[in-house]
């Protein structure tokens, strides 16, 4: 019996181009592949990710809506946007609207996720491997 065969839609990926040195000549940290999203975007706030960690900065003010108060109560300890959405039973996009309001009011802090990028961060991967080996 032979299995069905996949027809690859795209040609095999090109061999990677040689690593380009960072702007300004010397590569400061050639090992970074994963970066904290939006960390170096000037001014503009990074979009909220499923795994952005949200932490309350204050108790709910009297003006807070019930939804805002619920978020503040939940994220006394860091909690991902995905977890908030699950516990409050709100779709992800509704959750991000709510958190954006709280960020604007400076009632919560957002800790940006680590995302895949074009330059490696081996130490992060090694940390994850060590963590998994302990499971």
């Amino acid at each position: 019996m032979t299995p069905p065969r996949r027809q690859r839609r795209y040609p095999a990926p090109e061999p990677p181009p040689p690593a380009k040195p960072a702007k300004g000549g010397r590569q400061k940290n050639p090992e970074r592949l994963y970066v904290v999203a939006g960390a170096d975007e000037d001014g503009a706030r990074a979009a909220l990710d499923l795994v952005t960690l949200v932490v309350a900065r204050a108790d709910p003010p009297p003006s807070a809506t019930p939804e805002q108060a619920a978020v503040l109560r939940l994220c006394g300890a860091p909690l991902s946007v995905a977890e908030l959405s699950a516990y409050l039973n709100l779709p992800f996009s509704a959750m991000t609207v709510l958190i954006t309001e709280l960020l604007t009011a400076e009632l919560v802090q957002a800790r940006a996720p680590i995302v895949r990028q074009a330059l490696p961060d081996r130490s992060l991967l090694e940390a994850v491997m060590h963590g998994l080996q302990r499971l």
């Binding site: 027809q7 690859r8 779709p91 509704a94 991967l125 994850v128 998994l132």
Partner: protein
């Protein structure tokens, strides 16, 4: 919004709280056809009871029999299971298991973008259901490994034959697993992390 401020307040149990030192999280996506074991895998390695998050997708109608010329919009709710593994006091890993129709996964903004990588769970009884998602991952440059979930009544092909049927290049790891077992799920994740690590050495991660 259907949040109701009732007495039974939903929320993490005390032991589910992350430490205040938690600085950043990363995510991995588990994909595969219906009933292949995605939810089981999330549950077997997660430190929290698996949770579900939803998103509402709106898509312009694309029905071929739509001869009224109307721009019909259809809204679909896509739910996703996820779990969590604390790696260190600073770093948290989330696993997302994508159920339902594959064409919606890629409409969920930010699900694959930024994911460290993906696990494609494959059931050898229905190999072809994973073809489309593999193509899409390749197209987006999301690195993935293939895990063959061994169901008792599934045909067992030699791995090289499966590799060639899936048109997998040599460097992409393919492993057999039983995701009901925590150790087996963990080993799949380790295979993915080692593969990502090897990509950083060859510089071929896009």
């Amino acid at each position: 919004m259907d949040y109701n401020g009732s007495d039974t307040l939903p929320g993490p149990r005390a032991e589910d709280h992350l430490p205040h030192t938690a600085q950043a999280a990363a995510k991995i996506v588990i994909v595969g056809g219906f009933g292949v074991g995605k939810t089981t895998m999330v549950g077997s390695v997660s430190e929290i009871r698996p949770l579900t998050t939803e998103e509402t997708m709106t898509q312009a109608g694309i029905g071929i029999d739509d001869n009224y010329g109307s721009e019909s919009k259809t809204a679909t709710t896509v739910a996703m299971d996820f779990g969590r593994i604390s790696i260190t006091d600073q770093l948290v890993l989330y696993l997302f298991g994508t159920p339902g129709q594959q064409r919606f996964w890629f409409l969920w903004n930010g699900l694959f973008e930024g994911a460290l990588g993906a696990v494609v769970l494959v059931d050898t009884r229905r190999l072809e259901v994973s073809f489309d998602v593999m193509g899409r991952l390749e197209e987006r440059g999301v690195p993935f490994v293939v895990a063959i979930n061994s169901f008792p009544d599934a045909p067992s092909y030699p791995l090289p034959e499966l590799r060639s049927a899936l048109d997998l290049s040599e460097e992409i790891p393919m492993v057999e697993c039983d995701v009901r077992r925590r150790a087996s799920s963990r080993d799949v994740l380790l295979t993915l992390m080692r593969y990502l690590h090897s990509l950083t050495m060859t510089g071929s991660l896009r």
